[in-house]
């Protein structure tokens, strides 16, 4: 029964994927912001798909967006786990 609540095909798995994606996205934002003032963007950036100038404002907007998504996903996960807790509790 628990597989129906927290198994791989449930909303919980989707939410976990969402958290992983948000986490990876924030790492990219952090990396771009950390390299915002580099005079030369060649080398590592080029190897990862081209070096473009960093728009710090756009990165901050993306960061806020990811934070909100992450927060929402964690709240939804809490609800899902609360459902599991409620279903396994005696009474």
């Amino acid at each position: 029964m628990l597989r129906g609540l927290i198994g791989p095909s449930t909303v919980v798995a989707r939410l976990k994927e969402g958290l992983d994606l948000s986490s990876a996205s924030v790492k990219w934002i952090a990396h771009r912001v950390a390299n915002a003032t580099n005079a030369t963007g060649a080398g590592f950036d080029a190897a990862l798909g081209g070096a473009a100038p960093v728009d710090v404002e756009a990165e901050m907007v993306a960061l806020a967006d990811e934070q909100l998504r992450y927060d929402a996903a964690t709240r939804l996960l809490e609800k899902a786990y609360a459902q599991v807790r409620a279903s396994v509790r005696e009474r």
Partner: protein, 171 residues
Amino acid sequence: MRIVGSWFSRAAAGPIVRPLFRGLAIAASGLTAQRQRIEVTAQNLANAETTRTEEGGPYRRKVVALAPKVSMPELTRPVLPGDPWILPPRVVEPVDLLGGVEVQGIEEDATPGELVYDPGHPDADENGYVLYPNVRQSEEMVTLMEARRAYEANATVFEAVKSMLRRAAQI
């Protein structure tokens, strides 16, 4: 021959950073780089009028050379079967290689300084000219402001990652 510690071995440059905290490490690398830029700018401004150095001649403006950093390159090494280390081999995603920024060195600006006619100066040449450092105060102030804003941006990212980790720990 067994390859030891594919994941947790110490990288040649820098301490171990677990994947969970890499966002923090990336932002911290940006903070370190910008702090060093500010320190070098302070050094340049402090020596804006220095006409004699140990190497001879006037002070030369210093510039911080920054470059993107690759995180833990040994991650790309395959784990051999029977390796007792904890984690199984996995595909290395580009996001696993992000390491932020690193200071590759502090280099000298090669542009010549200004010649000022000041025959009373102890470092004046036979024609009465003194070679001053190639430091322009306005340029240094712009660099200082840029580094400060970039430091703030990195600090914001650090705070954001920290709050996300805290939120995840509350699930």
